[in-house]
Symmetry: C2
Subunit: 534 residues, 2 copies
């Protein structure tokens, strides 16, 4: 497989985003599966040889990426028992086959051809939107994590995608969980049962907790949590006096897409106040945590944050406080895609080098982290249908005349009374489009990430009734299914003439999408199709 | 009651909004219940006399509003049988008492005192957020509708709040339903059962329908739908040939808070194309519908839209088309509050006058409408708790020094690398605040309406452990409960020093709030407390 030449023959990948400034290089790339595969599933000559050695292939996939990026594999090799993981992955594959009907798919098969096959297999009258979930993705990401950051135990941030299948895979492989609410904990409890080691494998990673939630974590046997303000220490003293508490540090997160430091974290001075109060209240402070913000674009922020943590570790053990910190939680912020710059191996390298210098293994500090997007993002593909269409024909384009006839009837003209310029320009874009499509997921569903997560979606299409082979592109608008005009996914993208029933699909929609979707207007993608890439 | 003087003694009503431009007069007012009541529940002298004649009081309440606004009651009196409605309301009251444990509350009791009582009655360790639902509100709004717009049958827009209790009240009183998806229909089916008249009391009011949804409406016996493009007519021809179809017109909605005309509606020229195609396909076109946009601020838009509808009615019956239009659907856009300008009676007056001129009763046109917000908005109050707090003390304020010490550690300084100016100013506001509160509902929950519905929320507080009577106000930030920093409800409002466990409550949160809320991070307001105001 590694000797194979991968021709990328994408049908179409226009960007769909409201924020023009975000058209970065990374959007030009498809998901990692596609990078390793051909688009044309009929071209069997180019398919990789199928093998059942799942783990071997997983590692090979990572090796390919590494090789492309000029990394020396041995240099950062993990010490985790690979044999055991290989066994577990094989077991998981069997489990999900029987439990969720996960279909095995050749590793080399492209997402495009998988989508096409899934659509073919559905009843012809089915026009529901659905997610394709590649379960092996989570296992592969776990392997990659252990390969590059073997010293750091990953606690999956459940919030990024609280789907039970992700929790199941990661729990099986040995991962821990970052839960931020009683409901997230209950989810893990439901999946992992009573025998799960809640003391060591769960962190209640919310610095501002409600008392009823504290009670539920405490009763479940969870021990670790974080704190960043004085009120919270007092609250813990009363309601969770035996908790193992990490100081949540405020970091520089200006280079992250979703910064957190406006909301959480204590700066150095506040840490000193907290150390003093914790000593007075006899709170069991055991270490530090930080979070460089979601999708961190600068690995040096980890470096700087680690240095700050080192400083707080040192201050904590001074005579005034006498805390012996033993846990360091480096939070999340990791991208879910190896084509992101900086790539995961690059970020890992910076972290490892810094750790080796200021938190060497010999010190015996327990290292942990809270990756969410890293695991969940690449695992899901959204498949939607064009449910309705509006061709902007001559009648429409000659709208202006109607305005005269009916006084103020049309919205074409720009007006100072309009709410703001942005909405004016959006209107103008929609107005000047050639074709308007309505699909069955939108801004209130998966695409909420355009608003809440600054996500840039990549759209692909499949013509189902492909009677028109024309490649002519038209300026198109894509609306979501609800009655609300804010529910617009793309104001202006180039697409060929598509029909009702044709497919628009969107790769890498696994994080902060379904997790934050609402059921507004009765529309929500609820159907899942599971695959396991061999 | 109508002779009573109502003193308004609000504790505090700072506005919480990101859009400064929206601080209109209407925000200075509390909900209608409060307008009719005193805030101090201990002052029994000022309480209205309790009576069991529910309907009488409802009508009296409307009479009060009308009287204040100088309306002549007889002039617009409805012809609907009041006796029957009175009986139904009384039955509903009994039904909800047994079914949902709805507590009876004196009509004159203020929302503030109801919230206080609800909090007192909860177990002391309960810190969940909840909604207080005033079920009689829906009945009262229905009465008001029939009083002012008796000619127009209201079809409740389920999307604004798909709670079963609203559907139940309105179905019982005789209302119809505007459903836009198969799931909304299924909800009405579940509540109203098989005997409900789906042909006459449901409209599938979505101009861009998926085929699977069409099938479900058709199979349920629904007959009415709307159309605004050629593809949809072709789709109906194939999948719902016997539907009664309304042409959805494109209107001028520039004066509405949420315009729809960028997404839906056919202009006059397109209507002519559609009439021609419908004749060719033998589609049963029966009338027109329009929607002036959500929260319409200019009643003249109804007037203009009605004139346009009249024109299309006339064109439709020309020899070329020969359609005999008999149904006119005037859509939604009605405010849920009588203090809004224009008020509901004012809007109703314009509509009635226009209808009398161009669609007189003698013509026998069936008039319908799709109010959502009108019914749902005022029925719900959100009660949240302060679950965590951060006092910005000296250590925090002297943050600047830390910046020097730790190079780039703090986010205080403004930087050209920051994403945009808006987020800079938000950061600065948060940074300069005196106190930061975290409550248990936020931007991903009820407050999604700040983003999606341009809603301005009004906040009230209740000190639970009221040991500090100081009225000193501090610049405060209110964050929602999730880990995301975007989850900020108010960047800068004045509040006194509040404690963890104190209550922030928000009236009139019934429309486009819970309907569009997600469960992100495991936080969502799911608890409801029901009351019935006698």
């Amino acid at each position: 497989m590694s000797d194979k030449q991968h021709n990328r023959k994408e049908t179409s990948k226009p960007e769909t985003s409201n924020s023009e400034s975000r058209k970065a290089d990374d959007n030009e790339r498809d998901n990692e599966d596609d990078d390793k595969a051909d688009d044309d599933d009929d071209n069997n000559d180019e398919q990789p040889v199928r093998t059942n050695l799942v783990h071997e292939l997983n590692i090979k996939a990572i090796d390919d990426i590494l090789h492309d990026q000029g990394h020396d594999l041995d240099e950062q090799a993990t010490k985790v028992d690979k044999r055991r993981r290989q066994f577990l992955v094989h077991e998981l594959k069997e489990l999900f086959e029987s439990k969720l009907g996960a279909k095995h798919v050749d590793y080399g098969q492209s997402t495009a051809s998988i989508v096409k096959n899934c659509c073919k297999e559905l009843p012809s009258d089915n026009d529901e939107s659905f997610y394709i979930v590649n379960l092996s993705h989570y296992a592969r990401q776990y392997h990659q994590w252990m390969h590059f950051l073997g010293r750091i135990h990953p606690f999956y941030a459940v919030k990024s995608n609280p789907s039970s299948f992700i929790i199941e895979v990661l729990a099986e492989l040995g991962g821990g969980f970052d839960c931020a609410s009683a409901e997230e904990l209950a989810l893990v409890q439901k999946i992992c049962g009573d025998k799960f080691d809640y003391a060591k494998r769960i962190i209640f990673a919310h610095p501002c907790k409600s008392i009823s939630h504290i009670r539920q974590f405490r009763d479940a046997g969870v021990q670790m949590t974080v704190v960043d303000n004085e009120d919270e220490l007092t609250k813990l003293k009363e309601h969770w006096p035996d908790a193992k508490v990490l100081l949540r540090l405020k970091t520089d997160d200006r280079h992250s897409m979703s910064p957190f430091s406006t909301k959480f974290g204590a700066n150095e001075r506040e840490c000193i106040t907290l150390l003093r109060l914790a000593r007075k209240l006899n709170i069991n402070l055991v270490g530090c945590s930080f979070h460089v913000g979601s999708r961190c674009l600068d690995p040096n922020l980890y470096k700087e944050s680690l240095k700050l943590a080192r400083r707080i570790f040192d201050i904590a053990q001074q005579d005034e406080f006498k805390f012996d910190f033993k846990i360091l939680d480096i939070g999340g912020g990791f991208s879910g895609h190896n084509w992101d710059k900086p790539s995961f191996p690059e970020v890992a390298k910076v972290i490892n080098q810094t750790l080796d210098k200021i938190f060497p293994e010999s010190e015996g500090i327990t290292l942990m982290s809270e990756p969410g997007r890293y695991f969940s993002s690449g695992g899901m593909t959204l498949v939607t249908r064009i449910i309705a269409r509006r061709i902007h024909n001559l009648d429409y384009k000659s709208n202006e005349k109607i305005v005269e006839l009916n006084r103020k009837m049309s919205y074409v003209q720009s007006s100072s009374e309009n709410e703001n310029e942005k909405s004016d320009s959006e209107k103008a874009l929609i107005e000047s489009a050639d074709n308007i499509y309505y699909i069955n997921d939108g801004i209130y569903g998966t695409f909420n990430a355009i608003i809440f997560d600054h996500k840039v979606f990549i759209v692909h299409y499949i013509k189902i009734n492909d009677d028109n082979e024309s490649c002519e592109q038209f300026k198109s608008v894509v609306f979501g299914p609800t009655c609300d005009s804010i529910d617009c996914i793309a104001h202006s993208i180039n697409l060929p003439l598509l029909n009702i029933g044709d497919v628009l699909w969107f790769p890498d929609v696994g994080s902060y999408t379904s997790a934050c979707a609402s059921n507004f207007n009765g529309f929500q993608t609820k159907k899942y199709v599971f695959i396991w890439k061999n």
